[in-house]
């Protein structure tokens, strides 16, 4: 009796194991294709950054080397200046948009507002229309007031652009913080500012950090606004990349692209630590 049931068990085990192994075949093929679709283009970029000579029909570069890196990062090279300009603009954009988004997000996420839906809609509008016509006309306006071709002009454009993400995420983060905690602090005698800075703000901080990260990256990577408002006087990294690529210099374009990739990939790896599911599910509501 027991031998029979053992045999049954073994047979069942075999029947289960075989399809299990076969199941990995389609999975492996699909995951392999996804991996190729994602890493193939990135591998191509990496190859270009170290290719000294590479032309059709050679599968791989003919010579490898770092001479273009030396050229890009030489003291007279443009990369350092562009990198500094880009990071400086991005930091100012984060400060500007968070200073505007934290009060607005708190009001929209926590307080009873007249026409709250309409106000949320106002912040939807920059995402609901293509930005290009706006940048074209903002450049014209900035030209008249002397902001065209200045860092301040580019920062203002990036703050406006980043405000959408910042306000939406800040609203969702404040809405996700339990209002009773603040009320408890108030009833124990804390003033409204103390309750906000000691209770609500720390709890909403991960979401706010995420919105800061979004604004920083959006600014660092932004091309269109800088192209119309900044160029050619303010040379950010994306503008440098575009100019090099348009001139057919794929090595310098690829090295610049790699510089822009590093912060992007770093933030990609950490974003879910800041943006929790309960905040994500509230975005757009």
């Amino acid at each position: 009796m027991s031998a029979l049931s053992m045999q049954d068990g073994r047979a069942a085990g075999k029947r289960l194991r075989l399809p299990f192994d076969l199941k990995w075949l389609p999975r492996a093929i699909v995951l392999g294709l996804v991996a190729f679709a994602i890493f193939g283009p990135l591998a191509n970029l990496l190859l270009w950054t170290v290719a000294e000579r590479w032309y059709f029909p050679h599968t791989l570069p003919l010579e490898y080397g770092f001479s273009y890196w030396a050229k890009v990062f030489s003291p007279r090279g443009v990369a350092w200046e562009s990198l500094f300009t880009s990071v400086f603009i991005a930091l100012l954009a984060v400060i500007g948009s968070l200073a505007l988004a934290i009060p607005a997000g708190y009001a929209l996420g926590r307080l009873k507002l007249p026409a709250r839906g309409l106000i949320l809609l106002v912040f939807l509008i920059p995402q609901a229309f293509p930005n290009l016509p706006v940048y074209v006309n903002i450049a014209r306006f900035f030209y008249d007031v002397g902001l065209n071709g200045t860092i301040a002009g580019v920062v203002l454009v990036h703050v406006t652009h980043g405000l959408v993400f910042a306000v939406w995420i800040a609203t969702a983060s404040f809405a996700a913080v339990d209002a009773e905690l603040e009320e408890a602090a108030r009833s124990m005698g804390a003033g409204p500012f103390r309750a906000f800075f000691d209770v609500t703000l720390p709890l909403a901080l991960p979401g706010l950090m995420a919105s800061g990260i979004f604004v920083f990256l959006e600014s660092l990577d932004e091309f269109t606004g800088a192209y119309f408002v900044g160029a050619p006087d303010v040379q950010t990294l994306p503008l440098l990349l575009y100019t090099a690529g348009a001139g057919g210099n794929y090595q310098i374009a690829s090295i610049t692209a790699l510089l822009l990739l590093i912060p992007s990939i770093f933030f990609m790896l950490v974003v879910e630590r800041f943006l929790r599911a309960d905040v994500l599910s509230r975005i757009g509501h």
Binding site: I38, A101, L113, P126, L132, D221, A257
Partner: protein, 274 residues
């Protein structure tokens, strides 16, 4: 009453910024589209129609096709992340899918320009693998390249939103359907996707508008006609300083996205009314 005043005061600076630096230029682009040398008229639109009808249609085709492909891919990936039963495969996919998430469009343009070219790594590997001969290789650097670039970049974004929304829905209904013998595909389309519909629409609308605004990808992958309106707008301004036709083209892209935004809002209102 006091709370309302405070709330408004807190929101006013942000609203004012949007009004001054977004709404005003937007209005200027609308009025600019009708400004001609002979006063207000439709000349810019007639010129835009004569020169760019093909590009307008291609823009619509590229952006719509990309949005639908992005939606399909992100439902598939987020669905597998939610319902997948093999923890190892789920973990690998979760690690894989989001690499392009924050890669800027300008970098996507450069990366895919090299990858999809006739002598790019994709064709080179296909030739090296004996699948193609060098004569058979073709460049994808046309409207298809733009679609590939958009899908490559935007799918992780919509997937991230969707996977987040799917993770916060009630597992009990899924388990119940599973116990009653429903297939995972059926659970995905009949239980999971309906519950994250709003998030999916938000992701699709945001992607649609984003793609309508991206200048770098069309400039870098295929700036020659047929291309997207964005590349034409930049060309009108850089080559001719022609703000009239540029703004008319801008208006056309505004109308396209307005249609999408109205669709989203009416859907949202219906949802709220329920």
């Amino acid at each position: 009453m006091r709370e309302r005043t405070i709330g408004l005061l807190l929101a006013v600076p942000a609203i004012a910024t949007i009004a001054l630096l977004y709404m005003m230029p937007l209005l200027a682009s609308v009025t600019g589209a009708f400004e001609t040398e002979a006063g207000f008229g439709l000349d810019n639109f007639i010129k835009a129609r004569d020169l760019y009808t093909t590009d307008i249609l291609y823009t619509l085709l590229i952006v719509s096709a990309s949005t639908l492909i992005i939606a399909a891919f992100s439902v598939a990936i987020a669905g597998y992340l939610t319902l997948g039963e093999n923890p190892k495969a789920v973990a690998i996919l979760r690690w894989l899918y989001r690499w392009p998430l924050f890669i800027p469009f300008i970098v996507v343009g450069q990366v895919l320009r090299t990858f999809l070219a006739k002598n790019g790594l994709m064709n080179n590997l296909l030739v090296a693998g004996g699948i193609l001969t060098p004569m058979q290789t073709m460049s994808f650097l046309d409207w298809r390249g733009i679609v590939i670039a958009f899908v490559w970049k935007q799918t992780p974004f919509v997937t991230l939103l969707l996977a987040g929304a799917m993770a916060s829905i009630d597992r009990a209904t899924i388990e119940a359907a599973r116990n009653l013998g429903a297939s995972r595909l059926r659970i995905l389309f009949e239980i999971v996707v309906p519950q994250v519909r709003t998030t999916l629409f938000v992701g699709m609308v945001l992607s649609f508008v984003t793609m309508m605004s991206v200048l770098s990808v069309p400039l870098m992958i295929s700036a020659q006609s047929p291309t997207m309106i964005t590349a034409d707008i930049a060309f009108r301004i850089n080559a001719y300083g022609d703000y009239g036709v540029a703004n008319a083209l801008g208006m056309i892209s505004l109308i396209m996205t307005m249609a999408v935004a109205i669709f989203y809002l009416s859907h949202n209102l219906k949802e709220k009314a329920r």
